[in-house]
């Protein structure tokens, strides 16, 4: 056998894990068609053989929003304000809960789907090679598509409210920045999901905690209530939850008022990038040989 020097004659080289970091983004780009098809598959196969079909996209967030409006808004009388209103504008509770729910659903769905990447696809991944990252990314896009459709419905309700004059908010130019917060939520969901996916390969226990942790997390995030409910002196601690600044910023962009502080926004971006990059690195380490363990 010749020495290492003639490695150049070969196109591909399969070697043991050396701890080197190759994210394989170029390879992932080569497989973008697959990402697209995976996303389409996830999205379109969900509502086959149902009577209501695509209506199911709207029913869950709609019902949750109604429940939130009744329970937290009307019975518990939680404020649906992130800060003391600057004028006489009050965001209607229904819209307030709806946007929060849609965004939270997006985040928690991406996280849950990503966390299950290895377990759900173990059979396929054990038989065929493709960039493993294609699966969670496709799932994230299919969840995004769902969220976009829901947001369109939200937009329609919002517009109807504004036009009919029963809603005391106006459309604001800050809306243009709204997609940024959606993108941020996606990255965070993916990042944390990837870390959990890697851990569940060896320790299935973590998979069981995810649902419970997400539920708890929901109540630590201003989705069912406005930020105003949180006592002033706890705000600093409360804002450590990276979803909170994203959520309040999203509502600010959406309604043109609310709570935005540059410091917290920067903190949320730092946290998001930390989780996302960290998740990608861990995932990259694990993907190569996870089929041996799972």
């Amino acid at each position: 056998m010749d020495s290492v020097s003639d490695k150049e004659q070969w196109k591909y080289c399969i070697e043991p894990e050396r701890g080197r970091l190759e994210l394989g983004l170029r390879n992932l780009w080569r497989y973008r068609g697959l990402v697209h098809l995976f996303a389409k598959r996830d999205f379109t196969s969900k509502y086959r053989q149902t009577v209501l079909g695509p209506l199911w996209m709207f029913i869950p967030p709609f019902l949750t929003t109604i429940v939130f409006t009744v329970v937290f808004g009307n019975i518990a009388k939680f404020p649906t304000l992130d800060s003391v209103a600057s004028g006489d504008m009050v965001v209607p509770a229904f819209l307030f809960y709806m946007i929060g729910n849609i965004l939270w659903e997006l985040f928690s769905n991406i996280l849950k789907h990503t966390a299950k990447t290895f377990l759900a696809n173990a059979r396929i991944m054990g038989k065929v090679y493709y960039p493993r990252l294609a699966s969670p990314i496709a799932a994230a896009f299919s969840d995004l598509a769902m969220a976009v459709i829901r947001l369109l419905l939200f937009g329609a309700l919002f517009a109807v409210g504004v036009v009919c004059g029963s809603v005391s908010v106006r459309m604001s130019w800050t809306m243009l920045f709204f997609p940024l917060t959606v993108f941020q939520l996606m990255l965070l969901g993916l990042g944390i999901g990837l870390i959990i996916a890697v851990l569940t390969v060896k320790y299935r226990d973590i998979g069981f905690i995810v649902d419970f942790a997400l539920q708890l997390w929901l109540y630590l995030t201003p989705v069912a209530y406005g930020l105003q409910l949180v006592p002033k002196r706890w705000i600093g601690l409360y804002m450590l939850n990276p979803v909170t600044p994203i959520m309040t910023t999203a509502r600010y962009f959406c309604f043109g008022e609310g709570y935005v502080q540059v410091g917290y926004v920067i903190w949320s971006w730092v946290a998001v990038l930390f989780f996302f990059v960290g998740g990608c690195i861990l995932f990259n380490r694990a993907e190569k040989t996870f089929v041996d363990i799972i």
């Binding site: 196109k11 399969i14 070697e15 697959l34 054990g126 493709y130 363990i293």
Partner: protein, 413 residues
């Protein structure tokens, strides 16, 4: 020709023994997998000093462009692990693999189909998974559909497909891959004969068009018809690399136990076999010669132990020919078997078997009233015998491969 396509350099693959993750399980001897492997494999030196199981150890070989390489070996020899390494599904522990082309794996062709999607959607999905672009699939869609014989069901969700159709569709997509290297693991084990022949034809075409193919199969006839060169894996080691006929001869002679008698108690049982052994075969002895002429009868003695009374104990004997196909089967009830040690003498009418080497597979089964059989103890390649060609019918020696293994008596009325 002459271009190297694949080079495998000193590749080894280790697997962790036992159940991973829980501390208690790390004690290998306590875990079921660890125990099953250790009994046999410590003996064979297949567990290394780190307590890891060596699925492959120090494998090296090269494959030229356009070559079809057969890979044979018994279950657990490391064939599938080797293919998984080549397909990048997992990485080797030591060594490296150099490739000069894209690898497409056809390991279990039906995987990757989504049951809610239609046949057409699945073709695209599967194609993309194997590295084909959407445009490429567009171009080849008609051919794929044509080949799969599933045209009229193309827009039906694949969950309504029969298992045969499912497989045909999977194979068809894979057959039209444009990868330079294709690895196949027992892809033709299922499907009807006509379709199988079509696939063999297709694989030959692929090979002629310059594709490099690695083909794993237990079916020696298939290996023989598709490959010129073949490697034999045994216990994770490369035991033979050379011409296909020699490889098959090597493989079959290695698993054929041509002795007069054999102790059976310590032999490794197949994994699927019931572990709380109600019955255990302990000893077999061929009475008379192990090589005998056509028209003669095989006599043997079998000792076995029964731990408890069994409803209806039966012995099933599979007769396997040297090319890896089942040649015949025998079955007998054992009404006199009792608890404890048994010694039974058998006489098997082998007079109609054609000349050649045969290996016996023995199964002790419990048959209930409805005819359902429960395996109590099973062993493959227990002992072998050889039937020598007789002077009056020398022709049987020459064409046996195409003629089957049994000669039925024919009389003029």
């Amino acid at each position: 020709m002459g271009d190297r396509m694949i080079r495998v350099e000193h590749v080894s693959k280790e697997y962790q023994l036992g159940v991973i993750g829980q501390k208690i399980m790390l004690d290998k001897a306590d875990s079921p997998l660890g125990k099953r492997l250790t009994e046999h494999d410590l003996h064979e030196g297949r567990i290394n000093d780190k307590g890891m199981f060596m699925a492959l150890s120090d494998i090296s070989f090269e494959v030229e462009a356009g070559e079809t390489l057969g890979i044979i070996g018994r279950n657990g020899a490391g064939k599938s692990t080797l293919l998984k390494l080549l397909a990048r599904i997992t990485l080797p522990t030591v060594g490296r693999i150099l490739l000069n082309g894209h690898v497409a794996s056809m390991i279990e062709v039906g995987t990757g189909f989504h049951s809610e999607l239609t046949g057409r959607e699945n073709i695209y999905l599967k194609g993309a998974m194997l590295g084909m672009s959407e445009r490429k699939i567009d171009q080849k869609l008609d051919e794929i559909v044509d080949f799969s014989e599933c045209g009229q069901f193309l827009d039906t969700p694949v969950k309504r497909y029969s298992s045969g159709m499912y497989l045909k569709l999977g194979l068809s997509v894979a057959a039209y891959l444009d990868a330079e290297i294709v690895v196949m693991d027992e892809v033709l084990a299922v499907g009807d004969t006509a379709f199988q022949n079509k696939c063999i034809q297709k694989i030959k075409e692929m090979s002629e068009s310059g594709r490099t193919i690695l083909f794993v199969s237990h079916n020696m006839a298939l290996i023989r018809s598709l490959c010129k060169r073949c490697i034999v894996l045994d216990q994770g080691k490369l035991k033979f690399d050379g011409k296909v006929e020699e490889a098959i001869r090597y493989y079959t002679s290695a698993s054929f136990y041509m002795e007069q008698a054999r102790e059976l108690e310590q032999l490794e049982r197949t994994p699927s076999h019931n572990p709380n052994r109600v019955a255990c075969m302990t000893y077999i002895k061929i009475l008379g010669r192990t090589r005998f002429a056509m028209r003669e009868i095989l006599r043997f003695m079998l000792r076995f132990r029964l731990l408890e009374r069994v409803g209806q104990l039966c012995l099933r004997v599979g007769i396997w020919s040297a090319d890896g196909t089942a040649a015949a089967i025998s079955f007998v009830r054992l009404p006199n078997a009792c608890e404890g040690e048994n010694e039974t003498y058998f006489r098997m009418d082998t007079s109609r078997l054609l000349p050649g080497k045969y290996s016996l597979e023995l199964l002790l089964v419990d048959m209930d009233k409805s005819g359902l059989m429960v395996k109590l103890d099973a062993l493959r390649d227990v002992i072998a015998f050889e039937i020598l060609p007789s002077e009056d019918w020398p022709v049987y020696q020459m064409y046996k491969r195409d003629w089957g293994y049994v000669e039925l008596p024919l009389f003029i009325e």
